[in-house]
């Protein structure tokens, strides 16, 4: 029996009568993580992993009907045993393990296999059927270790500082921004953030994640000498806006897995592209799939057709699931749509 099927409202578990990350309002929603394309407003009841509570409430509503469950703890609903396991994507992100009549399915949501210190690291869960994302499902995507990427960001920041220029680093406000703040060498200079980033920093700090001291960039006047030494972390939407004017002469960079390709980097029109992603790269996807021991793999959002074909050639029973998940982080960057 299929424990998860695709329905117009979202991925649905028939025996448990609930949805996983539904994109239309339903009665019972199990949420893998708080990015906007997975956690939407309007469900009558939410169930999520406990470490994600702060973020979910700050994004959907303090009084949302949310029930939480620590990682690894099981509950049974209509005979389906459900538990959450770390996905290593952002704070509170979880894979959902479902067990019913001896059959085990795991829905990964979004995941990353390299631990980053801002959330519980990805934990492979044995299952019969694994539902995987495929955002970076092409072999051209292989990440360098993040230590090398952070060394590159530190070096860029120092070089700008030496030239008296502000360093503006664009990154998605939830997850990526905190990962950068956590990994950066905060001894180099002051760190400023955009108004979209600071509330999430607060939630991370409350969860005990080390985020260095940050200042609200809006508090600084144009030509404040401090700006010329500072790293400014801002969402991509701030690029090209009047908000940027206060920084005068600055160098800009973008942190994203899509920066792997020269074309995307150039199209983005920033001085530097840092290849830093919250998703698994190609080897990471294959490793995660193998670790689950699953014989059946359902592929969602990203390079669905490609990953399905590759897995089939490796002898797995793979098929695509049509979903409406995107990649909120780089929604304005061009990529293969979820329909492929």
């Amino acid at each position: 029996m299929d424990l998860v099927i695709a329905r117009p409202e979202g991925l649905y578990c028939p025996p448990g009568d609930f949805y996983i990350d539904p994109w239309r309002p339903v009665d019972r929603a199990v949420i893998t993580h708080a990015h906007g394309d997975h956690a939407r407003w309007g469900m009558k009841h939410y169930l999520a992993a406990a470490p994600g509570e702060g973020i979910l409430r700050s994004r959907i509503g303090a009084d949302m009907p949310l029930q939480t469950l620590p990682y690894g703890e099981r509950i049974v609903h209509h005979g389906v045993t459900l538990s959450f396991h770390p996905a290593g994507h952002v704070l509170g992100s979880a894979q959902v393990r479902l067990e019913y009549e001896g059959e085990v399915w795991v829905a990964s949501g979004d995941y990353k296999v390299e631990p980053d210190g801002t959330c519980a690291p990805f934990e492979p869960v044995r299952c019969h059927t694994f539902i995987t994302e495929s955002t970076f499902g092409l072999p051209i995507y292989t990440w360098q270790p993040q230590a090398e990427i952070f060394a590159g960001i530190n070096e860029w920041w120092r070089a700008n500082q030496a030239q008296g220029r502000a360093s503006v680093l664009f990154s998605y406000a939830f997850g990526k921004a905190q990962r950068i703040l956590h990994g950066i060498d905060d001894g180099i200079g002051p760190i400023l953030v955009h108004g979209a980033v600071e509330p999430l920093n607060r939630v991370y700090r409350e969860a005990g994640i080390r985020i260095p001291e940050t200042h609200y960039a809006g508090d600084f006047k144009k030509n404040d000498p401090m700006l010329r030494e500072a790293l400014i972390v801002a969402p991509p939407s701030a690029g090209g806006s009047t908000w940027m004017r206060r920084f005068g002469d600055y160098s800009d960079a973008f942190a994203s897995g899509w920066m792997m390709l020269r074309g995307t980097r150039r199209r983005r029109g920033v001085d530097r592209g840092f290849v830093l992603s919250d998703h698994a790269d190609w080897p990471g996807l294959l490793w995660a799939i193998e670790q689950t021991g699953a014989e059946r793999v359902m592929v969602t959002h990203g390079s669905v057709a490609i990953l399905v074909r590759y897995l089939r050639e490796q002898g797995l029973d793979a098929q695509g699931f049509t979903t409406e998940y995107g990649d909120e982080e780089e929604a304005d960057l061009v990529k293969e749509g979820a329909s492929v």
């Binding site: 092409l138 072999p139 051209i140 292989t142 792997m260 390709l261 020269r262 074309g263 995307t264 150039r266 199209r267 029109g269 001085d271 530097r272 390079s303 490609i306 074909r309 590759y310 050639e313 061009v334 990529k335 293969e336 749509g337 329909s339 492929v340």
Partner: protein, 579 residues
């Protein structure tokens, strides 16, 4: 190789000319002359012929990456650049080679050319393993002949001038012909580029041409010409010919013909050799190589032609101009294309597609550099030289005159039927500058508006480079019947990929993905929903195209979001443009 790859990365990372200049100066200041020699070669547009067949390189890369062909292909489609794809797919290595660019080129890469596949299969992958990812990508671009980075020759010239303290024009002069295929850059060639000036520099020149002076596009309503440019009398006005810009260099009893790309093309136009004995040594003429309608012996005498040219000065009515130009007999560019790129020239081709040169400037006379004489003096002397040459292979490009800009605008209306691209305006007192500069006087190109039709997007393909992974290359069609006709279909007639803003391209990309009907490899057919105004420079009958029509330099002028697909233009509209 690593230093050159780092230079590439710095150049690639910025759009600021100053930052690029700084990167170039840093590189040249530190580089060995032999490496710098090759760097100048590649950065100013030098392309050695492909060293390894692309097909083979793909296969070796698939082996090294242990990937099936389809997955390699998918990756290539997403990346849009073969060298980059391979560099991303083969296993990464620690950088272990300390050899410079020159050693890589001369000892490792150039010897690969012409080797059989099994030798290449032995030699290439071990070379790859010596390079980090960045260096590998650059190295592969050198191998495939696809090296390109956003640097102009002018910028290289400026960098070398900054570094050496020499005049940029002197560097430009020495750089001419540097990237010609017959040249092998080496340390001594580079040292000559950056050497301090010597007294006999001029005499050393042999067949060297001068750097071409280039025109700027003029985009103003004609009503504003007077205000911006002054009266027409301050300008020398000519047709903008649709041929090959060329320089004729006559020295030491020989004639060299150079194209604007600074390629030596003498051998491709052997009939111009008959000019050699008719021009004095120390003569350099800038002009346009065009296809002449009649074989020279069938044309009017030189005296007649000169008279024609002189008469044109005083004629203002379109019909008369047209009549005279008809006698000039310039053929469309499509014919000239038949001669470009041909290795062997048959007698038939020489007879059917004869060329002549329309001279418009004199750069050297009696062995002296004439570029600092004003335009009108150069022109007067040029006419004297051409008269003395007395060959129908060399004619002056006629001057056009009028009392007002409006009159010239009226004459310009005839451009299309004359097969010219519009007019050239050259300041009468302009010196002959270097490249696209304005400090010594200016040349404007006043081009006619392109042809345009409203066409429907029916296929889309992902682009390359900056457009990689975006559906940015489109095939356009027109209807084969009038609106309302039963069973009319869309007939493809042109491909275009330029003219949209990034923002528009992203929107079109999204629509392409949503409206895809079928995928054929990298190409998608779509449900026709998008109409674009397509511009192009020329139109001709073609047996090779399904529509029976070929257009030149098609590009998108405008996205017609206001226009339904049914109202797009028809094949009949296109045929009307053929005249």
């Amino acid at each position: 190789m690593k230093a050159f790859a780092e230079l590439y990365a710095r150049l690639d990372a910025t759009t600021s000319s100053n930052a690029k200049l700084a990167a170039l100066v840093d590189y040249f200041s530190a580089a060995e002359p032999a490496d710098a020699a090759w760097a100048v070669y590649f950065l100013s547009g030098g392309r050695p012929r492909q060293l390894v067949p692309t097909r083979l390189m793909r296969e070796l890369a698939m082996d090294a990456a242990n990937l099936p062909e389809w997955l390699f292909e998918e990756s290539y489609q997403a990346v849009g650049d073969l060298a980059e794809t391979v560099s991303l797919l083969v296993p990464t290595a620690e950088h272990s080679s300390n050899d410079g660019l020159a050693q890589w080129m001369e000892e490792k890469l150039l010897p690969l050319r012409g080797e059989p596949p099994e030798v290449l299969a032995d030699r290439l992958p071990p070379l790859w393993r010596q390079l980090d990812r960045q260096s590998l990508m650059v190295c592969l671009k050198l191998i495939t002949g696809a090296f390109r980075v956003g640097v102009s020759k002018l910028l290289v010239t400026r960098a070398l001038a900054t570094m050496t303290g020499l005049d940029a024009k002197r560097i430009a002069q020495r750089l001419v012909g540097y990237t010609d295929l017959s040249n092998r850059p080496d340390a001594s060639a580079y040292e000559r580029l950056v050497a301090q000036e010597s007294a006999d520099e001029h005499a050393q020149r042999g067949g060297q041409p001068y750097p071409f002076f280039l025109a700027h596009p003029l985009q103003l309503p004609v009503e504003q010409f007077e205000q911006t440019l002054g009266p027409p009398s301050a300008w020398q006005v000519e047709w903008k010919w649709d041929g090959i810009r060329a320089q004729l260099v006559k020295r030491d009893g020989r004639l060299w013909v150079w194209s604007r790309g600074e390629e030596l093309i003498s051998e491709r136009f052997p009939e111009l050799d008959e000019l050699a004995p008719r021009l004095l040594d120390g003569t350099v003429i800038d002009g346009e190589l065009v296809v002449w309608k009649h074989a020279p012996d069938a044309t009017a005498s030189q005296a007649d032609l000169m008279q024609d040219a002189a008469e044109l000065d005083s004629q203002t009515l379109n019909e008369q101009v047209e009549g005279e130009l008809e006698r000039f007999g310039i053929q469309p560019f499509a014919l000239l294309q038949q001669r470009i790129g041909r290795k062997t020239l048959s007698k038939k081709i020489l007879q059917d597609v004869p060329v002549a040169v329309l001279g418009y400037d004199l750069l050297e006379w009696e062995g002296r550099d004439w570029r600092s004489h004003p335009q009108h003096e150069r022109r007067a002397q040029l006419e004297a030289v051409i008269t003395a040459c007395a060959s129908p292979r060399l004619m002056p490009s006629p001057k056009l005159t009028a009392n007002t800009w409006a009159e010239l605008a009226e004459q310009r209306e005839a451009s299309r039927s004359l097969g010219v691209e519009g007019m050239m305006l050259k300041a009468r007192d302009a010196l002959y500058g270097v490249g696209r500069t304005k400090d010594m006087g200016v040349w404007w190109k006043w081009k006619i508006d392109p042809f345009s039709v409203d066409a429907v997007l029916i296929y889309a393909q992902r682009g390359h480079g900056r457009r990689a992974s975006l559906y940015s290359d489109y095939t356009f069609a027109v209807w084969d019947g009038p609106p309302g006709a039963k069973e009319r279909t869309l007939v493809p007639f042109a491909k275009a990929y330029s003219g949209l803003t990034d923002e528009e391209m992203r929107k079109v990309d999204a629509i392409v993905r949503k409206t895809t009907v079928e995928k054929f490899g990298p190409v998608r057919s779509v449900t026709p929903t998008l109409v674009f105004e397509l511009g192009f420079e020329g139109i001709a009958l073609s047996k090779r195209h399904k529509s029976g029509i070929a257009v030149r330099f098609p590009r998108m002028l405008r996205w017609r979001q206001d226009k339904p697909v049914e109202e797009a233009d028809t094949l009949a509209n296109l045929q009307d443009l053929l005249q």
